[in-house]
Symmetry: C2
Subunit: 376 residues, 2 copies
């Protein structure tokens, strides 16, 4: 099997941009990734999007001159971008294609005025269990069990905004305080506005190819994808914990890594503050029920033991669904190459990217993709 | 690399079934495929759909007890089902997963009252160039050039309906005549109603695994996928011809086959009568401009040299987009196993499945997936 390298990455301007179409957003990301990789063509493309219209992939690719190569569009909820990435990796790893583009695109503003409206065939969603409510259930349980405090929830948003001030790509970079987070408008009790990722438009891309062993090369050390783990009233942990834990274990094992302790930085799915806390625990950065404490203590802040979401995360960068995973891949790639500016993690060699997609409804399970990147 | 076998196939009831949801349709197809393969679980799933709502894959899979395995939903226009199939094949071939389900699902009646409405971001579609019009352009050019006659166009519909009378799965099986086809309501001049595939609801599935060499085993002999070949006013051939020709050549070569002459039967994308004629030429069953003659002569009818669309094709089975490619795979699998009843091609050993997906617009190119199945 071929060792896979991330040859280049690119991210478009992010944030609500209803005046721009997916073609324009995608072109910006692809051109940046091609320039970064110093290539002008690829042999195949995987495109991740959740709400992009059928056939949009070919249209956006033609705009940058990519025609006559296999194009496969994938949807895997919020993990669509990293699903495109993992499929592109697999194609290079197995020698199916030599150089592959993984592209993530989403223009939320073209589909929704505000938050995602549950699909009419999603019974729990229609009954009110939209994404903010699902995360709010986890937060309520954690608060009830004493596993988190309101201040710890807010500390996630404050930390990620502190990181975002060093990331020119994060549209939400005004510094905020715990009091301000808790005083912002209630969205789904106990989650306030500043604890919820903004809806967003954007595109992100990565070019993958065979590793050549160069000194600055970023390679894919491990990867895992899981889906459809059912969560219901009989589950021992909150929504998402188990699938993330199992996927993390599989990803670490696939890279021959013993523990998360080897990882220098993490980009993870902080769609809501409680999501980052639960994921911090699920991937092993803190014991179960102690993620909030670890974050409040600064363990996962820049300068801490294992910085999490140096980009500012979904809370500051926004969450253009299909693009999110590849924006995470871009952040970790930049970090490993030492190109992360004021948010650089010194000497970072191993970075982990976690994306969790909700199933449409609670009962339908969910999906998780985790990849581990390395600079040798 | 592992030789890949089609362990089992299943197709739901087809036709407009607005009272049934995707979950119900999918369950019928999956249960049939599992029973056929004599298995009760798989290690991963690829799902093809065009208009299924985001996240629908996990919901329909949970209904049949498939949880906690990787699930990847793919969209590739009308070739979405065979894209799921080719990705599932690749996963088995490379040893990524042992046993994989490829599932195609579509409920057109839940999305459109009649034909597919072009996406608002598709400039040609909005201007009137919907799918019937695109195919009508090809038919007009063929008629102008003397490459086809009105009767030859109609003969495609008559032939496929004749085949469909032997296929219990084809909802449209009333026998028709050339005169009746030509006298039916005009949809897009010169294509009349009976020359256009019906919109449809349905699901189809295939279970893939490592070949064991059993005597009745159907294996994947070759496969190819192409996308995004731009077609415009400078193209030498009509829409779709070039990409189908190139994909067919690649698929035959990948299976070590010299020519289409080795193939015993073909299921191909007869979304409109002219589509079957152009594809018959593109894959090499007739010289360029002589596909209509070949069909009128009976070369591709049951009992002819190379029967095409023994199932009745999209024209008789309907075209539930994501399910179509896997329904084609099922038909060829049954034929190779000698289980095709009154439509059986005697001694069939090699069958080819072709699906062409339109790009959203003419200029955005299109996609094609071709697979070749074999009974050793």
């Amino acid at each position: 099997m071929t060792a896979v390298a991330v040859l280049g990455v690119g991210v478009s301007r992010l944030g609500k941009q209803p005046e721009r179409g997916l073609t324009d957003l995608a072109a910006e990301a692809i051109q940046a990734a091609f320039a970064d990789a110093e290539v002008s063509s690829v042999d195949a493309v995987w495109v991740g999007t959740v709400f992009g219209p059928a056939g949009v992939a070919q249209r956006v690719l033609r705009s940058v001159g990519i025609t006559s190569v296999p194009v496969i569009t994938v949807e895997n909820a919020c993990a669509s971008g990293t699903t495109a990435f993992i499929e592109a990796c697999e194609a290079v790893r197995t020698g199916r294609y030599g150089r592959v583009l993984a592209l993530g695109i989403e223009q939320m503003s073209a589909v929704f005025e505000g938050p995602i409206i549950p699909e009419k065939t999603d019974p729990e969603g229609v009954a009110g269990l939209a994404m903010p409510a699902m995360y709010a259930m986890s937060a309520s349980r954690y608060l009830h069990e004493g596993a988190v405090t309101m201040n710890q929830l807010a500390a996630v948003a404050v930390k990620n905004r502190a990181h975002a001030q060093h990331n020119p790509l994060a549209p939400f970079n005004r510094q905020i305080t715990v009091d301000e987070v808790l005083a912002s408008r209630m969205i789904a009790d106990p989650l306030t506005l500043l604890q919820c990722c903004p809806t967003s438009d954007g595109a992100a891309a990565a070019v993958l190819g065979a590793a050549t062993g160069g000194p600055e090369e970023v390679v894919v050390r491990g990867a895992a994808i899981r889906s459809g783990r059912v969560w219901d009233q009989s589950s021992p942990h909150v929504w998402g914990y188990d699938i993330v834990r199992e996927t993390a274990e599989e990803a670490l094992a696939s890279g021959g890594l013993d523990s998360i302790g080897d990882i220098d930085l993490v980009e993870l799915h902080d769609a809501f503050t409680i999501g980052e806390i639960v994921t911090t625990e699920a991937i092993g950065l803190a014991p179960l029920g102690q993620g909030g404490e670890a974050i409040e203590r600064g363990d996962t802040a820049l300068g801490g033991k294992t910085p999490v979401n140096t980009s500012g995360g979904l809370l500051s960068r926004g969450h253009p669904l299909g693009a999110t995973g590849l924006a995470q891949i871009a952040e970790v790639s930049w970090q490993l190459r030492g190109k992360a500016g004021g948010r650089q993690v010194p000497g970072a060699r191993l970075g982990l990217v976690e994306t969790m997609g909700g199933g449409v409804s609670v009962l339908d399970g969910n999906s998780c993709v985790i990849t581990i990147l390395e600079k040798k």
